[in-house]
């Protein structure tokens, strides 16, 4: 017997599909087309073939931006994963006070990136900011408050603020993931005499394997294209210390009026994102969707 997708399902999918094609597929194809042009966004575009693509391999700035992007990805993952995991698992408990903390922890989710960027730039202001006063109160030199203005620390500061923004979201993932874990596993562990740490590493963490993968994919692809907060917080500076690929793409396309070259960066970012997700899914066996609850 032939197995066909019921037509109702096709119709249901259509609106989403139309939007996906109109706002994802078509713009992506246009970016590929633009990447072969020399165009300032105003005048007549000129077809220059692969010149933009050749240029990128001789562009030390792009290489620098790539290095920074990878660094942001690594830092984001290293900061966000353990903290989100801990907060999420903690909040998975049903006690009232945990809900109270939950409300506090999740508030950053409600703010836009621009608002977070502006707020943190005030907090980190080296002459008037909250951080300056804390540093002074702790008895350190006021120079230590030069964080976003210091090429050495700016990127780490950016990664920390990004983490502050997104840890709540990933905690939410872990919270719901942890609530899915069958109670009987914990009961069994209790009977076997496992302590809280043992329970965490032997039951909670393995059971959250797929949540970790989802969260990792989101962190990696998200920080690959991360732009708005960096734009507000440092504008890519000081110098080019936080000029990540997405920032470079924006500057090339809109400030340098070099739409073709900006599109090359956009295409590279898009492809890198897809490849990264596929690799993560392959390596972890997530796409096989095997059950962890067999035999229960």
């Amino acid at each position: 017997m032939e197995r066909r997708t019921p037509w109702t399902r096709t119709v249901m999918m259509l609106p989403a599909l139309v939007f996906f094609v109109a706002f994802v597929i078509i713009p992506m194809l246009m970016a590929v087309y633009y990447s072969f042009l020399r165009w300032n966004g105003i005048g007549k575009p000129k077809w220059i073939g692969g010149l933009n693509w050749v240029q990128i391999f001789h562009d030390p700035q792009a290489l620098h931006a790539l290095r920074l992007t990878v660094l942001v990805m690594v830092l984001s993952w290293v900061i966000q994963t353990p903290l989100s995991l801990l907060i999420g698992v903690f909040l998975a408990g049903r006690e009232r006070y945990r809900n109270f903390f939950g409300i506090l922890y999740f508030t950053p989710l409600l703010f836009s990136s621009a608002a977070i960027g502006i707020t943190w730039s005030y907090i980190l202001n080296p002459n008037f900011g909250l951080v300056l006063n804390i540093i002074k109160a702790l008895g350190f030199s006021a120079d230590a408050a030069n964080i976003v203005g210091n090429p050495r620390w700016a990127l780490l500061a950016v990664a920390c603020v990004i983490s502050w923004q997104f840890i709540p979201f990933h905690s939410l993932l872990y919270q719901s993931g942890a609530r899915q874990i069958p109670e009987m596993l914990y009961e069994a562990a209790k009977i076997d005499g496992a302590g809280p740490w043992r329970t965490f590493f032997a039951i909670t963490l393995p059971q959250l394997k797929y949540t970790v993968i989802t969260s990792t994919v989101l962190i990696l692809t998200g920080s690959l294209t991360y732009f708005d907060l960096i734009y507000v917080l440092t504008g890519g500076g000081p110098g080019d210390a936080t000029n990540v690929l997405a920032m470079d793409m924006y500057k090339q396309a809109f400030m340098n009026q070099n739409v073709g070259y900006g599109s090359v960066l956009a295409v590279i970012l898009a492809v890198a994102g897809v490849v990264l997700s596929i690799i993560t899914l392959r390596l972890t066996g997530y796409n096989r969707m095997e059950s962890q609850l067999e035999g229960m």
């Binding site: 500057k251 009026q257 070099n258």
Partner: protein, 447 residues
Amino acid sequence: MQHKLRKTAMAAIVLGGLVAGVAGCGSSGQAGGNTAAGNGTAAGQTNITVWDIQTGDLQKVIQSMVDDFNQSHPNIHATVQFFENDPYKQKLQVAMGAHNPPDIFFGWGGGILKSYIDAGDVVDLTDALNSDPQWKNRYLPSVMNAVTFNGHIYGVPNNYVQPVFFFYNKKIFDQYGLQPPKTWDDLLHCIQVLKQHNVIPIALAGKDKWPDLMYEEYLVDRIGGPQVFDNIVAGKPNAWSDPAVVQANQMIQQLVDMGAFEPGYAGVSYGDGSATALVYTNKAAMQLMGSWDFSSVLTNAKSMIDNGELGWFPFPSVPGGKGDPNDVAGNPSNFYSISGDSKNKDAALTFLKDAVLSDNTVKRLIDLGQVPPVQGIESQLQQAKYGDYMTFQYNMVKNAPHFQLSWDQALPPTEAQQLLTDLDKVFLKQMTPQQFSADMNKYLQKQ
């Protein structure tokens, strides 16, 4: 049969969805233009749209100017839309590319305007101005350079001169017995004294990068004269290696080494007001900034101005320099230009002639402490509330042999952006003056 009907219905749904989607995309592009034109339309009226970026009280001046114009010109209805500075540039770029710009757009003159002119997007105003000498001669000649290309004029000044000079905190200067510096060595002396007393000598909004540029513009002009930058704009080979540029960057790094700027200057922004705040909270003694900074102090610390504690002086002269110490850098004014795609060019021209910098507008600007680039307003300026300040600016611009448009506006965008990044690195001492010149030479562009 029924099966077939279903299929047709489905196709209709699909098509409908697609059409709706496409139509939605199409109309959203035009929505901006339509709403602008749709305001207060009456029969027989010509509608024109103006884009501007003024904020606060200055926005009200522009709004009043438009309202006055609409009242005195029943046949034309002008609508003004205001945008934020940086997003505006991109917004205009996109609108120009889509051939959907406003009739009259706000601009800075220089390189960006040039790229629109090259694309045929800007109306040449030369003939209109020449046929009406009274109109043409209203403006101070030095400001028109920024909108004049090959002898053709593409814009008219629409607000006020914005020369760059030092603002200083008189209270701090008096406290340590300092005089406004006239020469570079005087300035270095002030910095030393202030450093000894743990006062920040100069506030610098390095995060925005363009405040860095003001030092470069002035030092290069003072050391080598305007020719040095003219060579850079013309794209002459190795123009960035001019000894004046190298020396200017050495002098900048000298300031950095002395600790002339506040801690973390590379993270301090002008836009959020924190650089100027250093001056009016008595933490820093000076700031090199455009004349607009006066309004910022007026808004945030009016008492400082009322008590006469805010002072100003021109950028000091550099001993042995070739440049005229009366030269000025900054924004000669902002400008309105008419877009080539405008359907109502005549109405737009009438607007430029009758509304822009009309006597009433000039008066309102003066009331707000701004100096419009028009002839013969000396007595008006002197009688104004902040007459000293405004007369200082007016004379500065009138007597300047050369008014240098900010370099980031005068240069092509790619070169300008690289300049801002590289200069930031000079201020951070991540780049030597020699490395700066070598790197910038790669970005020289013939105009």
